[in-house]
Symmetry: C2
Subunit: 299 residues, 2 copies
Amino acid sequence: MIKLRDLEYLTAIDEHKHFGKAAQACFVSQPTLSGQLMKLEQQLGLQLVERHRRNVMLTPAGEQLVKEARKVLQAAGEFESCAKALLDPFAGDLHLGLIPTLAPYLLPHIMADLNTTLPNINFFLHENQTKVLLQQLDEGKLDVLILPYLAEMEKFESYQLFDEPLMLATPKNHPLATKKSLSLADLHGEKILTLADGHCLKDQAMGYCFAAGAKEDNSFQATSLETLRHMVASGMGITLLPALAAQGNLASDTLHYGKFQAPVPIRGISLVIRPNYSRMQCVRAIVASVRKSLSDIIT
Amino acid sequence: MIKLRDLEYLTAIDEHKHFGKAAQACFVSQPTLSGQLMKLEQQLGLQLVERHRRNVMLTPAGEQLVKEARKVLQAAGEFESCAKALLDPFAGDLHLGLIPTLAPYLLPHIMADLNTTLPNINFFLHENQTKVLLQQLDEGKLDVLILPYLAEMEKFESYQLFDEPLMLATPKNHPLATKKSLSLADLHGEKILTLADGHCLKDQAMGYCFAAGAKEDNSFQATSLETLRHMVASGMGITLLPALAAQGNLASDTLHYGKFQAPVPIRGISLVIRPNYSRMQCVRAIVASVRKSLSDIIT
DNA sequence: TTAATTGATAGGCTTTAACTATGATTAAGT
DNA sequence: ACTTAATCATAGTTAAAGCCTATCAATTAA
């Protein structure tokens, strides 16, 4: 029978391509890892690793088995975290993934409540783009995501948390800044500053803009919301900002945030987990806590 | 770190509810299993088993962890069979599932060719109803299914093998037996004998019959195709039989098999596997072999 | 040529999973 | 009520497996 430790050694070799480093990562000596890996190869009757003088490579068979090995280790990890959750459903480590256009603006509003209602949970925060987060969630590296819901997430389980309106950020002296009643149609013909590709906010915001007959300003793409905000402030254009990112800066000297009349552009923020995730009690507590925290802020 | 052997012990206890039997199933002595399980409980800090003198029960925590344990063991099993397949892609055990209305009539036509093209594969044949087969395929107990494709199989991967026409089985002296040109519409108003519930052939056949305005004969349900055939032969009614089941009995004294004009009622027989099943080379060989075997028989 | 890097080998220690034999507790039979 | 059978736990022992340190051999870089 295969041993889980051997599979760890194999995946470590794949990650480090180096026996010494891999051994260190597994907290064993290099001869131990070397020996166990050889034993595994012998047991399977397959060569998994090509030992070259200067760099270690996996054979095709090795590549394929590493994938299987990871699945086994992931299942084993879920067994263990499930056991931990059974010990105390409201304790343990929890890795939370958020996107960059949400994390810095949302976390201040929710973390205090979360730490109060779940005092024994250690929250680890991970900031990344949607695609990466979903991948990591699937791999079990993350436990919970909070991000705008998209159709591609239907294979996961999700809980609607709140709708975040998008607001129009303009320089103070922009004609649209003084308009009494602002609607999406007013964007017709405008050029809109956007985030870099890969940020889902860009796609969502531009979706609304294109529908209203606005165009993307292709001369520049901001790499963060803060950059974008400063570009607007310095008069380089206008853009859509999520409400949480606009909060607290409404009275800026140079910036104006305009609220849209109905239909208000929004992004629906959801909490996403793997189906059958073992710590549902914890998830429900998080959903409830976040909804409560947000109910005061998002009207 | 959890050990795979411990997980086997746990699942064995779940299956047998008896330490001695479970130990036997794992090929170890009872004290060994007893001790290891206790150590596991200690390690997790959870009681998994309620030891009553007369019957052993799993605790709720145990029930939940058994589910996780099975997932781990399944993944480990896939690792091992993947390794075996890499050693020789065309060798090893292969568990093939078929439905009862297909197996006895199809297997004689395909097994000889399969054994010739894949001489080092040991085919284990499993006969069961669709629902059970899909469950077992998902659990990894089966490798390959051959059955009529239904929409509920879309989460699996499937390969169309052949279309099997349905024929009208009547007693020789039945009016429809002598009709020159037979079409589904001729079933209008007829009462059709059927198989018991659970057989997918029943649903498919009756689908065609209902559409043609025929009704189900509710006074009796046959538990096998052979029973059904004999009922028709003894003049109790008419029914639809798959072409393979009709073959070789066309010239019976008492039975008549009628071929339908277009649109011919059919059932589409497919080969179904888990997505990412590790032995695709083998699967492709099977698909090719079966298609070839059938090409002579189904016109 | 020398020094450094890297994986393999050797020998020894420790842990542990396995066994057999036996004990303790309960359920059922006489 | 006593005995027998069944069943899981305990005790003590053994064999194997995994790990360590120390060292070797091969290759690369200086």
